[in-house]
């Protein structure tokens, strides 16, 4: 069974591909929805096409499915139209599937699980990224305090923390305010 994943996000496509390979599918191709992707897809003659429901290129793909001669067999959105729960789960997970010839429920179930797994990884990554940028903001505020007030790094941090506690704010918000104030007052750094 040839499965083509059309996806912009390298990471999500990889997460999905790994899942499919673990489940024993080995004819898997990833095609980004750019330029002449429709012609590439047509040459591949896939049995299943998986695509991010949020991709703006879905209309382009569907047009190809409507007019293509290479993929003349009927193709339907989702595996079994009567399976409302499955369809709901797929839409919630953000995956759309175009299937040639009959039921491919296991593939779609797997895709749903993998899309959900990717969403989790993505939100963890976002959190990590936020944590990283918070750290940079705090470091910058510390160095402003160290320079302006002649404090040690430890004391600068203690001052940030106690101000945050007194005002009932997050340290990063206090740090941000210090940076803005320093910029407005034309301070160095």
């Amino acid at each position: 069974m040839r499965i083509v994943i059309i996806d912009d996000s390298g990471l999500r496509a990889t997460v999905l591909e790994e899942g499919l390979r673990d489940a024993g599918y080995d004819d898997i191709h990833i095609v980004p929805p750019r330029g002449a992707f429709v012609a590439r897809l047509e040459r591949m003659a896939p049995d299943v096409v998986l695509m991010d429901l949020g991709s703006p290129s879905r209309d382009t793909l569907e047009e190809m499915l409507t007019v293509s001669r290479a993929l003349a067999r009927p193709i339907a959105m989702f595996v079994d139209q009567s399976d409302e729960a499955m369809i709901g789960a797929a839409i919630d997970a953000g995956v759309s599937a175009y299937v040639v010839d009959g039921l491919r429920k296991p593939v779609l179930e797997l895709a749903v699980r993998r899309f959900n797994a990717f969403a989790r990884i993505q939100s963890e990554l976002d959190e990590a990224r936020t944590a990283l940028s918070d750290r940079k903001v705090i470091d910058r505020a510390k160095s402003i305090l160290m320079k302006q007030r002649g404090l040690s790094e430890q004391d600068a941090y203690a001052l940030l923390r106690s101000s945050a506690m007194n005002q009932g704010k997050k340290i990063v918000d206090v740090a941000q305010a210090i940076i803005i104030a320093s910029d407005l007052l034309g301070g160095a750094l």
């Binding site: 330029g35 002449a36 429901l53 949020g54 991709s55 703006p56 290129s57 879905r58 209309d59 382009t60 793909l61 569907e62 047009e63 409507t66 339907a76 959105m77 989702f78 139209q81 409302e84 369809i87 709901g88 839409i91 759309s96």
Partner: protein, 404 residues
């Protein structure tokens, strides 16, 4: 008690009425809270509606007809009791291609028939078969483009390539030389003009002066099961539409729509369609098109059955569906003037007395029978002068035979 309704939309200027109903308190006055779901493709908007993830959608009128006829993936009976706008599309072509057309852009836009013939003559001179982007096969844009091309003897399925692309990727595709022009809802045509990539070549409202565009579509069974929510929603949209049409509000509306939650494009570009001051070539003075996009006046929102049937006639014409009495009935009943009348019965919205009319028969504004209030219909001519009589679809279609 507030009822929440989820409504899917695409980031386009003609989603204005929904945004305004939600943001400016019109929905709240009716005890509604609108959860507007921004969607990036018509396929996903259709799926969200058909599979019940949203209760309503800002949908291309021909797509609502096509889904009901089973032409676009999972068939579902859809119902459109309210039109969200009339007009609002623009065809733009690469500046190099436009050199073969009338150089005075004002004259070019004022004469769609002449421009269509200029286009036909220019096809052979271009370095490839012209590739024109359309947003969907079942879009008012694609249908109008086909109508315009065919009037000059251009076969849209043979003499040009129509490539489906999402509106938001059209400008990028022009930059990459993947397309030679496109027809899409605003602000995307203006964005291509502003980028110096393209010139305006035709305006939807000059092809059909009162062209059907987006409707508010529901699943038919949801509509019949939820008359109260439906009526409240329509009663929220009517004053929101009147607000959108008021020139005094265009600046504020453009600002609202420029928000990333809606269109996410510069307010200045969005404003062009609202005021109808269209810049056809970058750097030139705008050209006035007061009917470029309409939301409320002339009973714009009223879903004339004859308009659903006109769409159907074009789907038959281009062999997207076979003509039968049954198909015609199903297509015509997608538009639901009965619901419009029920919902807005006790309001001051002018109410046409009929549900069907001749399309394309008015040269001048005409005062018509209205159950309440004054109602004047604007000129609704097609640029080629044809008149569509919904009772005589076969005759109308036979008139096109010589063009194919």
């Amino acid at each position: 008690m507030t009822t929440t309704l989820r409504i899917a939309f695409l980031p386009l200027t003609d989603a204005a009425v929904l945004a305004v109903a939600s943001e400016l308190g019109f929905a709240e006055e009716q005890g509604l809270s609108l959860d507007l779901v921004r969607t990036t493709s018509w396929a996903t908007l259709r799926d969200r509606l058909v599979y019940g993830q949203v209760q309503a959608a800002h949908m291309l009128a021909p797509l609502a007809v096509a889904v009901t006829l089973g032409l676009s993936q999972q068939p579902a009976a859809l119902a459109a009791p309210y039109k969200l706008n009339v007009n609002g599309n623009m065809l733009v072509l690469a500046s190099d291609f436009a050199k073969a057309l009338e150089p005075n852009v004002k004259s070019r836009l004022a004469d769609p028939l002449g421009t269509a013939h200029d286009f036909a003559a220019a096809i052979g001179l271009w370095r490839r078969k012209p590739i024109i982007g359309v947003v969907h096969r079942f879009s008012s844009h694609a249908i109008m483009l086909r109508y315009w091309l065919a009037s000059a003897g251009v076969d849209p399925d043979r003499d040009v390539v129509l490539r489906v692309l999402p509106p938001s990727l059209m400008v990028e595709a022009m930059l990459a030389d993947e397309i030679d022009g496109f027809i899409a809802g605003e602000p995307w045509g203006s964005a291509a003009v502003e980028a110096g990539l393209a010139e305006a070549v035709a305006i939807g409202g000059r092809i059909w002066r009162r062209g059907v565009e987006k409707v508010l579509a529901f699943r038919e069974n949801w509509l019949s099961d939820n008359p109260d929510s439906t009526d409240r929603l329509l009663r929220a949209l009517a004053p929101a539409a009147a607000w959108c049409d008021d020139p005094a509000h265009h600046g504020a509306l453009a600002h609202l729509l420029s928000d990333p939650r809606y269109v996410d494009q510069p307010a200045e570009l969005i404003l062009r369609a609202l005021t109808g001051n269209i810049v056809a070539r970058v750097g030139e003075a705008p050209i006035e098109n007061p009917d470029f996009m309409m939301f409320a006046r002339e009973a714009t929102s009223f879903p004339w059955r004859s308009q659903a049937l006109w769409i159907y006639s074009q789907l038959v014409r281009w062999k997207m569906v076979d003509h039968s009495a049954e198909n015609a009935t199903r297509a015509g009943t997608v538009f639901r003037p009965d619901i419009f009348r029920r919902a807005l019965a006790d309001t001051n919205v002018p109410m046409p007395g009929a549900s069907m009319k001749l399309e394309g028969a008015l040269d001048l504004p005409l005062a018509v029978g209205s159950r309440r209030g004054e109602l004047t219909l604007g000129p609704d001519r097609f640029f080629d002068g044809r008149i569509f009589d919904p009772e005589r679809i076969e005759e109308f279609l036979a008139g096109f035979k010589s063009q194919r």
